[in-house]
Each structure stands twice: as C-alpha cells, then as structure tokens.
Assembly symmetry: C2
Homo-oligomer: 399 residues x 2
C-alpha cells in the first residue's frame, strides 16, 4: 500500500476526536456530504421516539409547558451560541434559513435607518448561495432599497453612505472559501451599515466569534455541521445591544411580549425571543436539540474540530495531488488555512457525471452546477483512512 495509506492509519491513531465517530450512524461508504446533511447521531432516534410517543402521545398539549416545548427555540439557541462564539440570550432557533435571512435583512435595513434614514442599498456576496440573493432582492423591494452584488473581498471598497446592510457568507457554499469575518464586519460597522452573516457552512466546523468580532446579525442552518437532521430549523442571532431596536418583519405571536395575552396590539418581546415567529416545529427542533449533545463531550470543542478539519482537508488535497492525474481537476478551495472552510471543491468539466459514479462507488459528495465536485469534511465522524480511500476512488473514477 502507499505511504499515504499508512499515514492515514497513523493520523487516525493520533486523532483526539476518533472516539466521537461511535456517536454517529455511518455505513460502509465514505460520507463527504455532511456539509449538505449531517449524519445521524446515534442517540437521536430514541429521543425523537420519546418526543413522539410520550411527549406528544401521552402528555399532548401539556408538553408545551411540561416538556419544555414552548421555550425550545431560545433554549436550543443557547446550545448553539457557544459554538459560534455568542453569549447566551442572543440566538433563537426556528424557521428556515431563507426566512431568517429575510428577518435579518429587513431588520438590518431598519436598524441602519434609525441612524440614517437615507440608506437604501444592500450589498450581497456576489457568489452567495442563491436563496440569500433572492431573499435580499425581496427585502430590498419591500424596504425601498437596491441590491448590489459584490465579491466579499471588495466590500470595503463598495461600502458608502448609502449602504444599509451587508449580507455575507462566512464560507462560500461552492468554493469552500472562508471569508475574513473580523475585518469585513469591522469595515461594515465603520461605514455605519449593519452586518448580516450567513453561517450555514461554518457553524460547527470552525470558530466564528460573533460576539468577539461585533457581528450585528447572523443566520445559519443546523442540518450541516450541526447534524440536526433533514430540514432542522435554522437560527437567528441578534447582537444583544441591538435587540431592543430589532424590528422584525415577521412579528408572529411567538415573539409577543405576552403571547398568551392574545392582545390585538403587537408588543415585541425582549431579547432573542423577538426573532421568533409562529409555532415552532417541535419534532425537527427537538431532534436538533438531541443532536447537539455531542458538543457536551469533554473531548469535543470547536477548536478541536477546526484543527481536525484542516488536517482532513490538507490530507485530502495531498491525496488528490498524489492520486489524481495532473490537470484532471482544478482545486477551487483555497490552500491557505485562513481562507478554507471545512470542504474541498474540485472543478472538472464532467463533474456531474463523475459525482454520479463516485456515489455509486460509495463515496458521497455532491455536485454543484455547473462543474464543481464538492466534498464536505465533518471532523466529528470522519477519519483519515476514509479520506485516503475517497481520494483513491475519486482518482479511479477520474482516470
């Protein structure tokens, strides 16, 4: 066997997160699509069964209080908070990422206009996952703004006195590029605009530092590196200092100061709860809560995950360079650690067909049109031997 094959065994033997894999249900293949849908944590089915059979089936309506359903959005928000560098009380879980982008962007424009009514432009990452751009266009239309697409690196130059809000992705969904959140957030703030970060591809994979870097608003999904399950609810972060001015475009009864008062006038609740809308989807939400248990393990931390993520992607790139014929693929993901998320994107003209064959061979990544092979690396359950094997299978399919 190759040197890389041996190296993989050594890296696995030295992996401080190796034991975490047993907390997940994994099959024979190599699952490199945890950045699309995280694998099932082994204890989740039992927890979901309890939610369904006992909490719903036996307690029924009483579970809204007795099983903690009512407070789940903010309670689970507080479980996510340390994973993205936020103190408690600033994150609320619920709705889809798209809906949260809408809340955040309309809220951001309104915040910016409190200081300067005339601001009427929303800057959006030109390479964004499309839904963010579509929702930004809708938010702009409804608030009398215009959207301008800019590359994240060009945001500092694009900011001006018209800029109300800036919507950026922490990690690009296609290329896997990690953007410079601290400096971009500071630039947005210095221009008097409000920052909105989409953390879908970074939360649970690397340190985010929302509080530390003064991010204003952030959203993210929970079914990728947080392993919350298919379509598990997204979340909204509103920086504490902005909460009393956050003015949601979706002021549903769950965000009312007195939701069971059934009062005809809306009065926004204090704190993160203000980001809630309607009745939360309890089954999906409590599956997520259970999935977050893995972060309670003493051996699991965001820093440990990040260290292993970089080691995994470094090693994958090394294996690809060694096994795949020169020039057959172009590495899209940055080599520099400071610019890399937890995925590797490779470009080749026949990416769609190649991914089909890879999946048939048990190596599951995904295809992003028109020409990207996307491989996600979830350090909680992925080992180096699998990475080496995936690269070998990839090389076979590309030859």
């Amino acid at each position: 066997m190759s040197d890389l094959y041996e190296r993989a065994r050594e890296l696995d033997a030295d992996d401080p997160l190796a034991a975490v894999r047993a907390d997940f249900v994994l099959g024979d293949g190599v699952y490199l699509d945890g950045n699309s849908l995280g694998a099932l944590p082994a204890h989740v089915p039992g927890r979901v069964e309890d939610v369904v059979r006992r909490q719903w089936g036996e307690l029924r309506i009483r579970s809204w209080t007795e099983s903690g359903w009512w407070t789940a959005p903010e309670r689970i928000g507080d479980l996510i908070a340390p994973l993205v560098g936020a103190a408690a009380g600033q994150i609320v879980v619920g709705d889809s990422t798209s809906v949260n982008v809408f809340k955040a962007l309309v809220g951001a424009v309104r915040l910016a206009r409190l200081a300067d009514e005339g601001r009427d432009e929303i800057l959006v990452d030109a390479a964004t996952f499309p839904t963010d751009g579509y929702i930004a266009a809708s938010a702009a239309r409804l608030t009398g703004c215009e959207v301008r697409a800019v590359q994240p690196g060009e945001v500092p130059d694009a900011l001006n006195s018209r800029t109300a809000a800036v919507l950026l992705n922490h990690v690009d969904y296609r290329s896997g590029r990690l953007h410079d959140l601290p400096s971009l957030t500071a630039a947005v703030r210095a221009a008097g605009a409000v920052s909105v970060w989409d953390l879908c591809h970074s939360a649970g994979a690397l340190p985010v530092g929302l509080d530390e870097h003064g991010v204003d608003l952030a959203v993210g999904c929970t079914y990728k590196f947080l392993n919350g399950g298919p379509g598990s609810p997204a979340y909204l972060y509103v920086r504490r200092e902005l909460q009393d001015r956050f003015d949601s475009p979706l002021p549903g009864w769950n965000s009312h100061a007195e939701p069971f008062g059934m009062r005809p006038e809306y009065e926004a609740a204090d704190g993160a709860v203000r980001g809630r809308v309607g009745t939360p989807d309890i089954l999906s939400m409590l599956a997520l809560e259970a999935a977050l248990d893995v972060w309670r393990r003493p051996d699991v931390s965001v820093d440990a995950v990040r260290a292993k993520s970089l080691a995994l992607t470094d090693f994958f790139l090394e294996c690809v360079a060694a096994y795949v014929p020169q020039g057959r693929v172009e590495v899209v993901t940055p080599r520099a650690h400071a610019e890399r998320g937890s995925q590797v994107a490779l470009r080749c003209a026949d990416a769609g067909e190649v991914m089909g064959r890879l999946i048939a061979a048990g190596v599951v990544g995904d295809f992003r049109a028109p020409d990207v092979l996307r491989f996600g690396f979830t350090p909680l359950y992925l080992g180096f031997a699998e990475v080496e094997r995936a690269a070998r299978v990839l090389a076979d399919e590309l030859s």
Copy 2:
C-alpha cells in the same frame, strides 16, 4: 344514571366513526383540546422512526430524492387538498401559519394591484387570532397599506375601491363561530379585492370548499384537526388561476423554477411550488404525512366528520344545559349549525381557574384570556360518553 348518560351510550353505538378512535393514542381523560394539538395517530411513531433511522440514518442525503423528501411539500399539499375542497396542485406545505399569512397577504396586495395600483387597505377580522393581525400590520407596512379591523359580518359594507386584501378566519379561534365563507368570498371578489382565509380551526373539521367558492388564497395549520403533531408545518393555497401571478415576498430557492441550477437570478416556479421558501422540516412534515393516512379510511370523510362534530357539540351543549347551574356560564359559540365550528366556548369570570381544575380532573380543554373555557371536539377520536362525562366534571368544578 341520567338519561343523558344512556343517550351517550346509544349515540356511541350508532356512531359510524366510532372505529376510527382505535387509530389514535388516547389516555384515561377526556381530550377536548384537539383544536390546539391533535392526538397522536397510533401509526405515526413507527413512520417517524423509519424517517429517522433509515431515511436519515442510512440513506442520508440520498433521501432527498429516494425517500421523496424534496417533493414532500407539494405531495402532502395534495393530501390536504381534498379535505379543504381543493383540486390537486394548489396547496404547498411548509413554514408556520404566521409565515404563510405573510406570504398570502403580501401576495394578495400585489395581485390586487395588478388590476388597480391604488389599492392600499387590508381588512382584517377584528376578532382574529392575534398573529394574523400582527402579520397583517407588517405586510401593510411593507407594502404601503393600512390595516382596518372589521367584524367579518361587516366586511361587505367595509369593502371599497381602496381594499386590496381581506384576511378572515373561517372559524373564530375563541368563540368557535363559523363565518360565511361563500358569501364573504363573493363580496370580496365583487369589490375587486383578494380574499385570504385562515383555515386553522376549520380544516379537518368541516367542509371548506375552497375551489367551489372561489377563494383566492388560504392558509392553515396542520396540528389541530389534522393531527400532524406539535408545530407540524402549515400550508398555503393559491387558486390555480392566480398562480402565475402570485408574487411571494419570500422567494427562497425551493420556489425557484430550477432550484439546483443555483442561478443568481430568481425565476419563480410554476404552480403551488411557488409558495415554497427554504428547506422543509422533514421530520415534522413526514409525521404530518403519516397522520393524514386516517383520511384514507373508507369510513372517514369530511362530511361524516362534520355530521359527527355537530352531533358532539349539540350533545355537549345539551349536557351543559342539564348539568351546569343556570347562569354559571354563558355559551359563546353559536347555536345555529351554520355558524358553529367544531368547538364550544363557554364564558365565565373564573375561566382560568376552572380550566386548571378541569385539567387536573382529566378533562383537557384550554383557557383563552380573559374569560373563555374552550373545548374542541375532534370527531375522529371523540365519543359521546366522553362528552357527557366532560360536562359532568365541568358541572362539578363549576358548582
């Protein structure tokens, strides 16, 4: 025992839906809160377990296609459609009721303005469940409209050339009053406005007739009489003739004509799919799909459910009249069948305390501030003997 006790036994013996009860998990008490959270259908836990263990745990990302996750919102919409009198292809499931009210109302205003740009008023049921009013205010603010609260019966007089949209509840959440959907919808249409009906308290309890009566847009939840589980996703109906002009304020990638094209420009999908937003909450959604199986039984139909609903509420009112001291409660729900939903609301000053004692005694209804005892009657799993027993316990607690 009383005559009513005997009558209850006879009514149960003659109940064509009596056998359906075995399809649900019920305890020793009397559950009269199915209009808040429907009881657990007995086969749902097994189906949810399959979704979690096999579809998520084993197939993982492949389930988006192989387990039909991607098409679930419109597939389940087509299961709800016949229950509300809609042909297939007009209902999509997803998001909360509040979020769907927002889509519907902004969409309604935009539809009205296609014919008459100047329309700038939204009429809202003055007794509405609060979230509808809060969301209407937000939709109005974002579209340059004003909201005017009117009693549903006064809508025909309130309509004028400024009216863009009218948001009404089919059944009032507090009083249980059933509003006249056919005539109100016709009046709204005649005024050139767009109708939006909230079916939360009628769908699954009585015939709605969306297509027959020419309703434009409708929303509803699925956790009450449809028994979809806590926070199961809501739905949006867009009448077929309006679909190509429906312009959603939440144009997420799931509503794109080519969602995996990842194109920067938004192009709305045709049909009901246009009402989708982001990634659907699969666990909650597929629990709902399983729950809807009960409607496939040959003995279950909306008409049979409605007939039994009226018989149950008639009988409850008769028992209350016989058992409860005269003047102790006021019956809020209309006596006329044409004006009654599937609940009975009783007013008394100490309703909050009374409901607490009732629940402790195993009769579960709910309290709606400030003074309403609310009892919901789900014909699929409720029997007449339970109704008689609930009235007896109520009379004891009120004495």
